[in-house]
């Protein structure tokens, strides 16, 4: 009994870990393809069919390049930078509920690495640790441009984390739980949070862009001003890890967006599918099949948002630094507070009428 549970859990964790890495790997390919398509080009198509082996070729190139550490750099911190970035990026996927439960041998295991009742706080903690990777790396490089990039990253993340947290506070007021699984379960069917929190969603996704250092908020690696930003001095796979961590962060934040606002593994008509499947394959197998479909739906949503990240990257130009700070402090934070007030009003005064209407 214990052992089956352990094995299923181990498999789920490994699969989630592997899938995260695989998706991040193919995000680099996807980024280049999307960029090419938006610019009326074809993109990488020589390495393997449709260029599918391009990520392998890129990784091979990265590994075989010279791994250079500048003479005046702090060696240990210089190595710790990309390691931290990678570590924190991978840690965040632990609490994301990728699907419902899997039943086997009388045991019910959630498709989730760790079920934590403070899941959303955990994600916040890990994501805010992520900036340390950038800061430590940029600082240890002993290069003014790197340091400037690192400072920009740090101040940007601090500013946007406030608005992001406040956007989530509104969700927490509605759901009354910090557990991501509980939040997702409350969005059963098509009852997604986006219908109740459109303003919160816009604030959250803007902040997510800033947290991932993606265009239009990619000031830390702004080539025209800062050479390469915080990774100016990095080469070989250390640079590769920085870039890779960015893509993992993109996927994780897309997964969080779809879990918080787009119902996670819930989709309209899921009850009908569930009854059909359990009717066709029996109670246990049908349940597992329904869970797998839900997980596929979740990944579909997350991948759409990864595409959305790329789509925005090739549409919007970079913000100026003062515009970034203005938007964060004077735009998004007041809006987030307004959103909290509106949500509170709605929860306190309007909900009884709505629930009465629904009955």
């Amino acid at each position: 009994m214990e052992l089956t549970e352990f094995i299923i859990k181990a498999i789920i964790i490994l699969v989630i870990f592997g899938l995260t890495l695989l998706i991040a790997m193919y995000s680099t390919y996807g980024e280049r393809k999307v960029a090419a398509f938006i610019q009326d080009r074809i993109g990488p198509n020589r390495a393997g069919p449709f260029g599918m082996l391009q990520p392998l070729a890129d990784a091979g190139k990265m590994f075989f390049k010279e791994d250079f550490i500048p003479a005046q750099a702090n060696k240990w911190l210089f190595i710790a930078g990309p390691a931290l970035a990678m570590l924190t990026a991978l840690m965040a996927s632990a609490v994301i509920p990728f699907g419902d439960t899997i039943r086997y041998d009388g045991v019910e295991v959630a498709v989730q690495a760790v079920e934590a009742n403070i899941g959303i706080l955990y994600i916040f903690g890990v994501v805010s640790l992520g900036v340390y990777g950038i800061m430590v790396g940029g600082w240890a490089s002993n290069n003014k441009f790197s340091l400037l990039g690192a400072i920009r990253a740090a101040s940007q993340n601090i500013s946007y984390e406030i608005a992001m947290g406040m956007a989530i506070v509104a969700i927490l007021m509605m759901t009354g739980s910090l557990s991501l699984r509980a939040i997702v379960e409350q969005q059963h069917g098509g009852n997604w949070n986006i219908w109740y929190q459109p303003l919160g969603f816009i604030i959250f996704i803007t902040c997510a862009f800033a947290e991932c250092n993606r265009t239009p908020f990619d000031l830390p690696e702004c080539e025209t001003e800062l050479v390469g930003g915080y990774h100016t001095e990095y080469s070989s796979m250390k640079l590769g890890f920085y870039l890779f961590a960015e893509y993992i962060n993109m996927f994780i934040s897309s997964a969080v967006i779809s879990a918080l606002y787009f119902g996670g593994y819930n989709y309209p008509g899921m009850d009908w599918v569930y009854t059909q499947l359990t009717g066709a394959f029996g109670e246990v197998a049908g349940h597992n099949a329904a869970t797998l479909i839900g997980t596929a739906v979740f990944f579909g949503k997350a991948l759409f948002f990864v595409f959305f990240y790329m789509w925005v990257r090739w549409t919007l130009p970079r913000f100026r630094y003062d515009q970034l700070m203005n938007l964060g402090w004077k735009g998004l934070i007041p809006l987030a507070i307004l959103n909290i007030i509106i949500t509170g009003t709605g929860v306190l005064f309007l909900e009884p009428y709505f629930s009465a209407l629904l009955k």
């Binding site: 398509f37 009326d40 074809i42 789509w311 549409t315």
Partner: protein
């Protein structure tokens, strides 16, 4: 003075709420990029597909033969004199008895070499030639070389093959397209694949 009617008068007016919110503008921009996402791509897959460069494209050299298969070149040296890059070198020789079917006139080029690294493909040799012997092909380029001895092309590479004569076909795009269709039907074999824009 107005060059186009697309110029916009810059005004310093207050932005409206929709403009300040920035979201409608973002949506507009995203719609434009999405439209481009599904547009037909303009890329030509180069080594497999080649663009038709027109009938006056100056590619690699060819030393023409006449209709009886005799070399037209008389080694007068006018092409070498005209060449601004000094890429052409030749050695003249006198035609012996019994060689009348090989060379059209009493003098011929025993050696005719073009240095493809020096050549700038200006076409002045073509213009200088009084015998219509040297031409720059419109359908073939000098291929990439990896060895130094591949750079200098001698008569073995330059003189026309009578089984695969060079004709400057396809003077217009339509003719080029017809030629491509012929090639697709297998009627012509010496034309390289290409895309006509």
């Amino acid at each position: 003075m107005q060059l186009t009617n697309r110029s916009k008068q810059v005004s310093n007016k207050e932005m409206t709420l929709a403009e300040r919110a920035y979201l409608p503008a973002i949506a507009q921009g995203m719609a434009i990029t999405l439209k481009h996402f599904f547009k037909k791509k303009v890329t030509i897959q180069y080594p497999e597909v080649k663009r038709y460069l027109g009938p006056v494209f100056r590619g690699r050299h060819i030393l023409k033969r006449d209709d009886q298969g005799r070399e037209r070149c008389t080694a007068c040296g006018l092409c070498a004199v005209a060449c601004p890059a000094e890429a052409i070198q030749m050695v003249a020789a006198e035609r012996e008895k019994g060689e009348e079917h090989l060379y059209r006139e009493e003098k011929y080029a025993a050696v005719y070499e073009v240095n493809m690294l020096r050549c700038i493909f200006c076409g002045l040799c073509e213009e200088a030639c009084p015998k219509q012997a040297v031409y720059l092909r419109h359908d073939e380029m000098v291929p990439v070389f990896v060895e130094r001895d591949q750079v200098i092309w001698g008569k073995d590479m330059l003189v026309e093959d009578m089984n695969n004569r060079y004709k400057r076909e396809a003077w217009t795009k339509e003719e080029a397209r017809q030629l491509d269709e012929k090639k697709a039907r297998g009627e012509v074999s010496n034309v390289e694949p290409r895309a006509i824009p």
